[in-house]
Amino acid sequence: MTDWEAHEQDATREIASAATSAEIEDVRVRFLGRKSELALALRGVRDRETGMLLNGVRTRLEAAVSDRERTLADEELDRRLREEVVDVTLPGEELPVGHLHPITQIRRAVEDAFLGLGYEVRDDREVETVEYNFDKLAFLPTHSARSPRDTFFFDGNHVLRTETSPSQIHVLEQQEPPIYMVSIGRVYRRDAITATRYPIFHQFEGLAVDENLTLADLKGTLLHVMRALYGPERRVRFRTHYFPFTEPSIEPDVSCGICGGAGCRTCKHSGWIEMGGAGMVDPEVFANVGVDPERWVGFAFGCGLERTAQLRHDIPDIRALWEGDLRVLRQF
């Protein structure tokens, strides 16, 4: 008569000591297989008590075997994977990576800053008439920009726009105030190509027309945009200037981010960097588009994107932005 208690103890010991999947399989066959002592005994059981006893042994041993199998399988997988070690410092698969041009990145930053202020974004035609590029913007007949030496003329009446300001006229003719818009696009000046000038460049031009706007609102708006573009520490100051289509006209400066305003090479030791032009919309411009200057007040401002890119990324030569050189483009 077999001592099943001892038998179970033997089996449990052997299960625990099986070191490989083959060994555990061997142990399973021996103790639980069709011809095992336990299987044969179960087949010959005649009484309920013995049946319950043997079934209990079988259930426990099966559980122990499958536990051990899982453990061994895990260990073996782990061992095998550890042998598959790779040099993780080798390069990854070379996937294509694209790049947005820095001017596009700045265009979006400008758009986002103005969207945050509730402005709409637009762009207008680049080939303009003298009427929209100069006359309606109140350029004096003697203004140097009217000369073919400064401006690209196709004929006496058509030019490549010299600034995005004609957008002011277009929007004022198309919409009733209040207006809050920023126009972004290419503009053209008859400049020789140098490190700091290119005859084609990009500007953004903002226009706000509402009741009760002030020069202080213009200053606050520019401060918001400059901080959006350059960081929250920046300050803005105004200097008087002259533009045909604004009165008063000012030039905004932003405090230099390289030296924080103490003076350095970038800001020519002034602590300030010129950002473009701005001012309160001249009543003559309103009169030219049929807006009542006694009721509506406007401010406008313009600024170059290339200049912004040069300052933001410390690009010494503006031509790099036009040459399509991947060594340049892949930096951004």
């Binding site: 202020l117 402005y119 035609r125 080939v127 690209f152 003329f153 609102d217």
Partner: protein, 757 residues
């Protein structure tokens, strides 16, 4: 304009630090673009070592033929012995001396040293050696002055020059006096008069007739006799040099000096060269000729305003004088012109003759007609003093000078526009300092600002520019606004982002290209490369790719999103396009175009086409443009290229998307293969299948094309994977089979297709 600080001090006490002055002027008046130091460094007592000296003895150096050995009294007990290389002086001359220890502008420190055996205990100075000018033909000869006087007392030995940006609205700032006036107003300083008026003007005779008062509102002519032409004194030469002009001779220098001082350009004629001895201001006769001072023989047109004598034009009015009547060494009688010219006419002539001068630059901005008399007076005082001239004739011809404008001005309106309060009294006080007078609710504008200040807002600007540093930062109290991108602007960003995701680098190339037969061509381009507005982006991109190939770049993929300018009526049709070029063949480029459509939620359609830059057998047209393999003539290697119109692309986009239920009722997927004649295009099979099956055919894609014996010669097998799906019920096998049968029947009927599987 370049403004020497020493000259400003003639009119206003400039005692504040120059950096501070420059900042204040930049904010409130005009940008100071820089401060140039000029002359001797005055720090560390250096100026004390420069003195006025009197030469008491001058003999040839005993050991050197080219040198003089001098004794010079510099106000000490004994004269100093100085060796000098110049011979334009002798005993009795008053000269400028630098003593040992003095540091010259070029950094040289003088030492007592022997020169060919004789002690030289200092240096007699030429103007270039102390930075007062460029002359080195001899030493400076000074007016008689007490020996030992600090040289800085008689010459601007140490000076600074302000570089003042000029703007079109402030002709008054094109002068030293105008800037002095601003400084006086900003700092509440006294402004000294520019010149003491010449009281006893001779009655004449100067014959002047103005035939065109519109072009020439005023002409003051003065005649000087017994004029001696010679060099100007050092102080005047140095001022002209500091202001950026070249000294020439006393009479010419005086005209330039007065222009720089006051802003009114002058001209001097040799009166004896004027036929009939008279001046006529008139329009040129068509075809009339004039040889100007720059030696150019010019043909005039009837729009040119000229100064003429009885017979011919002698000057292009306000722009440049003529050669035949210019002041020469032998000139004894001078006719001085202190006139006023209308800006636009001067501008037109200046443009037409491509001639810009110091004079025309000022006239174009509009010079105050009241200024001509003052300018003539200052010139008179200088010509009498410096050239020994006697004023013998005077005439002042005009048809009435303009009245000072009277403008309504409400200080409250200024506060409202600037956004900061300034007490009304303070506003009026600063306007008065600028030369405005108060007249009840109006202000009277000074003559020198009459062109620029005509409306209330112009007066407000005067107040504003004094308050710019105090303006606070506020934001508009906006109403009825919502900032958002338009659909086109959002989709444009999506196009850019999709291409970046596909590995393309964005590039910008010029919108102007070499002449490509477009109608929008610049008649006067700055270079042949930038001549015409482009009608396609691809040629510029090919250029960019080529440069990258030459630079050895790998995995080249470039795109640009920009405008083309298509001829259309009065203005070109400006269309935004996106174009790309990447390594790989037709199907790579087509994959990019398909991906781009997928990103936009649009379905492209392709048909064979031709394009001048693309491979004739591997080019397709889509609804928005072209895709193909770059013609090998354009670039060596295999390159895919595309150029698509953005608005056409967006027109096919289903943005914003309407949701479809693709979860509740699963799709049934099948493969279909048919054999068709070789020339049948896969795209046509797909289109026919869609038409036959209707909207329940959700997807159809060619996954294999096979040619071989089993199919037969001249035929090919095309295999599709298809998916049928309905959004309101589950499609059963029977219905799927029905759809499949309809597709197969349509393909058989239209293309002779045989079902293979």
């Amino acid at each position: 304009m370049k403004v020497p600080v020493s000259w400003l001090r003639d009119y206003v006490d400039v005692e504040m630090p120059l950096e501070e002055l420059a900042t204040r002027l930049s904010i409130s008046t005009a940008e100071i673009e820089g401060i140039e130091r000029r002359g001797v460094d005055g720090s560390g007592g250096n100026l004390d070592l420069f003195r006025v000296g009197k030469v008491v003895e001058a003999v040839k150096h005993p050991n050197a033929d080219r040198l003089q050995l001098t004794k010079v009294d510099v106000g000490e007990r004994e004269p100093r012995s100085i060796v000098c290389g110049a011979w334009n002086f002798g005993a009795g001359a008053t000269v400028a001396v630098a003593l040992p220890g003095a540091v010259l502008p070029n950094g040289l420190r003088l030492e007592q040293r022997p020169v060919r055996g004789e002690i030289s205990d200092g240096m007699i100075l030429a103007e270039d050696e102390v930075g007062l000018g460029s002359d080195h033909s001899g030493i400076m000869l000074l007016d008689e002055t007490e020996p030992g006087t600090p040289l800085a007392d008689v010459l601007p030995l140490e000076d600074h020059v302000l570089l003042v940006e000029s703007t079109g609205n402030r002709p008054d700032l094109q002068s030293v006096y105008g800037l002095a006036r601003e400084i006086a107003a900003l700092y509440e300083l006294e402004l000294r008069p520019a010149v003491e008026p010449v009281a006893d003007l001779p009655p004449g005779p100067v014959e002047i007739s103005i035939e065109d008062y519109d072009g020439c509102p005023r002409y003051v002519g003065r005649v000087y006799e017994d004029v001696g032409i010679g060099p100007s004194p050092v102080w005047l030469r140095s001022r002209i040099d500091a202001a950026g002009m070249r000294p020439i001779s006393n009479v010419v220098d005086v005209t330039n000096y007065v222009m720089l001082a006051l802003g009114n350009p002058l001209h001097a004629f040799d009166l004896t060269t004027l036929a009939g001895g008279r001046i006529v201001v008139r329009r040129a006769a068509a075809g009339e000729r004039l040889r100007t001072l720059d030696g150019v023989d010019r043909e005039l047109v009837a729009d040119d305003l000229v100064i003429a004598d009885e017979e011919r034009a002698v000057a292009l009015a306000g722009i440049m004088g003529g050669e035949e009547t210019e002041i020469g060494d032998a000139t004894r009688t001078v006719l001085l012109e202190a006139a006023n010219f209308e800006p636009y006419g001067i501008y037109r002539s200046s443009e037409r003759h491509r001639l810009r001068t110091e004079g025309s630059n000022r006239w174009e901005k509009g010079v105050d007609p009241h200024l001509a008399g003052t300018a003539a007076d200052l010139a008179t005082r200088l010509l009498v003093t410096l050239a020994g001239g006697r004023l013998t004739g005077h005439a002042d011809v005009h048809a009435g000078l303009p009245e000072r404008p009277v403008v309504r001005f409400r200080p409250g309106r200024a506060d409202a526009l600037i956004g900061i309060e300034t007490p009304a009294e303070r506003q009026h006080a600063l306007l008065e300092r600028l030369g405005f007078d108060r007249a009840g609710d109006d202000v009277v504008v000074p003559t020198w600002r009459a062109r620029d200040v005509k409306r209330e807002v112009d007066v407000i600007e005067e107040v504003a520019r004094f308050r710019l540093e105090d303006v606070p930062n506020t934001l508009p109290a906006r109403r009825e606004m919502f900032g958002r991108l338009s659909r086109e602007q959002r989709l444009r960003r999506r196009v850019e982002d999709a291409l970046v995701g596909l590995g393309f680098a964005e590039t910008y190339t010029p919108s102007l290209v070499p002449d490509d037969e477009t109608t929008w061509k610049l008649p006067e381009p700055i270079s042949v490369e930038l001549t015409a507005l482009r009608t396609s982006l691809l040629p510029s991109l090919v250029g960019a790719v080529r440069r990258n190939v030459d630079a050895g770049a790998r995995r080249i993929a470039l795109f640009e999103l920009a405008r083309v300018y298509l001829p259309a009526g009065e203005l070109p049709n400006e269309r935004l396009r996106v174009a790309g070029i990447a390594e790989g063949g037709f199907f790579h480029a087509k994959g990019v175009v398909e991906a781009l459509h997928a990103a936009l939620i649009a379905e492209p359609a392709f048909e064979r086409a031709e394009h001048p830059l693309l491979h004739p057998g591997k080019t397709a047209r889509t609804g928005a443009g072209f895709v193909g393999e770059l013609h090998p003539r354009e670039l060596e290697g295999t390159w895919g290229a595309f150029e698509l119109d953005l608005l056409e692309l967006f027109a096919g986009s289903r943005e914003p998307v309407v949701y479809e239920d693709v979860i509740s009722y699963p799709a049934v997927r099948q493969d279909i293969a048919v054999a068709v004649p070789e020339e049948v295009a896969a795209g046509d099979l797909v289109a026919a299948a869609r038409e036959a099956a209707g909207p329940e055919l959700k997807e159809i894609r060619v996954f294999d094309v096979y040619r071989g014996e089993q199919v037969g010669a001249g035929r090919k097998s095309v295999a599709f994977s298809v998916a049928y799906q309905s959004s309101d019920r589950t499609l059963d096998e029977e219905h799927a089979t029905h759809l499949r049968d309809r597709i197969v029947a349509a393909l058989a009927e239209r293309f002779g297709a045989e079902l293979r599987a």
